[in-house]
Symmetry: C2
Amino acid sequence: MTLNRRILLAARPDGLVSEDCLDRVEEDIPVPGDGDVLLRVLSLSVDPTNRVWMREEDSYLPAVEIGAVVRAAGVAQVVESRRAGFVTGDLVMGMPGWQDYWLLADDNMASVIPPGLEIDDLLSIYGSTGVTAWFGIEDVCDLKAGETFVVSGAAGGVGSIAGQLAKIKGAGTVVGIAGSDEKCRWVVEDLGFDACINYKTEDVAARLVELCPHGIDVYFDNVGGEILDAALANLAIGARIACCGAISTYNAAAPVGVTHTDNLIMRRARMQGFLILDYVDRFVEAIMGLAPLVGEGRLQYATEVVDGLEHAPNTLNRLFTGDHTGKLIVKVSEPA
Amino acid sequence: MTLNRRILLAARPDGLVSEDCLDRVEEDIPVPGDGDVLLRVLSLSVDPTNRVWMREEDSYLPAVEIGAVVRAAGVAQVVESRRAGFVTGDLVMGMPGWQDYWLLADDNMASVIPPGLEIDDLLSIYGSTGVTAWFGIEDVCDLKAGETFVVSGAAGGVGSIAGQLAKIKGAGTVVGIAGSDEKCRWVVEDLGFDACINYKTEDVAARLVELCPHGIDVYFDNVGGEILDAALANLAIGARIACCGAISTYNAAAPVGVTHTDNLIMRRARMQGFLILDYVDRFVEAIMGLAPLVGEGRLQYATEVVDGLEHAPNTLNRLFTGDHTGKLIVKVSEPA
């Protein structure tokens, strides 16, 4: 390969990411200057937040500029290094974006990965997905033994791990909310959830009342919107809501309003938003907590790898159509 | 007076409390049985929550039943006691409801008030109003010196005190939101707020951006709905929202949905609901904190006393039309 395929943001998407929002170009492979590192992109993480960064407004990171490469986390391998600490062949975790080659400039965040770890695991269970679930449960939910725990996006990367961690921490009842009978079957039969609501075919509010007769003690929210509202309507006194994601709102033109916020008062409940970005210094703590659970077979996780950079846009869209289970990864190239 | 005037709930109100939702009756003055206390009602507290209790659904207390006296907090004086701890002439704080005479049965909450306190103060600055503001600021807001503090219902009983307490605790900027230029003038000129937005004539979202250029660190919410949404849209990182009341939703047929809850994630912010009911054991702590501030003239509060039990329904409605400043009290009778 002598050219660098890059997928640039040409226009702000309205809803799903369509081809006319993108500019697929082939450019020369960049030449690293002093202090730079040139890397070959191996795998890209497909996350709801990729879509947030495409919006006009800045979020917790600045919006991707029109004409810039689409931002995405991933793993890349050093091809040529002109910076101390990076050696040819090193695997590096960072934000390569949707392209074949990543020129790591001075101020980019990136860390060299110790050898012996699976790349797919680094982008799922030991990456932001697993670590988000870990800190959501450990730091935000304040989950106590015997409590009723509900998670939306239950068959997704974060939700599937959060529900299992809740069960491991002693939750009395763990209820998932997911988008198909097949997903519901997976989280109940394979992951050990007590129940799962198919939000596409069932009345979520009514089912939450049935499945959580004493109210929801902890709700781990990955979706926002109507499902968040249904959870707010059925809180136990002292409930906690961990606001992890709001995927139902990320590409909505007019987001559905949440009407039951007054229940936060009636139930003396708390909603707390969190971002994995704030836990960068504590990643190792989460990985040390997750690894033995994976090793003992107590924590299952699903990863679907899609081969080819060209499929990045459609794969991102699958997060929003619900056509996936577990963590989605785009494989760009094989390690050297 | 030989009869007990009582205002009963005849039907659930739709919007404001209209006369056809009420049944005004005159009954014999009840005769206390063993363990009962008969009291003459002196003053009633007029609170947004009175309207919440009239709804079909239970809230943090059971809904008022159709045919029962309308529930309200207040101060009453013992006429005849058949219970230890209550002596004729004692002033008692509790939930007398909209009536002339209150028969305190065995399981009612009520506490005898030490002598020397003004009844109106007991229902405002040293009652649930002042104490709610106190614990909201002390326990929920986690306010730090220099922070930007916003309070809605700023000219109301709770809001006017909360804003002053925030200033006393060192908030850098205190912004109120109220419903008339006169109210805005009062909170700025008399209470010392830095600014006040008239939500009836100004664009609250735009004004919050102007007045809080670094975002809102703490939002003390008394109203919910659209104004809560405007605050959510302009949070600083790590913001806290104290959910104290949602008066805009209490008699709304279809509450306005809040669309910016995803900002809780982007800004790693917290919303925490609280109820003064949970602080009954700590009332003294609040009163001890408030009294010196009142004594030193650092805390202003406004009380409007409406004379006559018969005016209780219209006075309650004034909370929702915004036609009042500070705390509203209905005076039923003079102490003996």
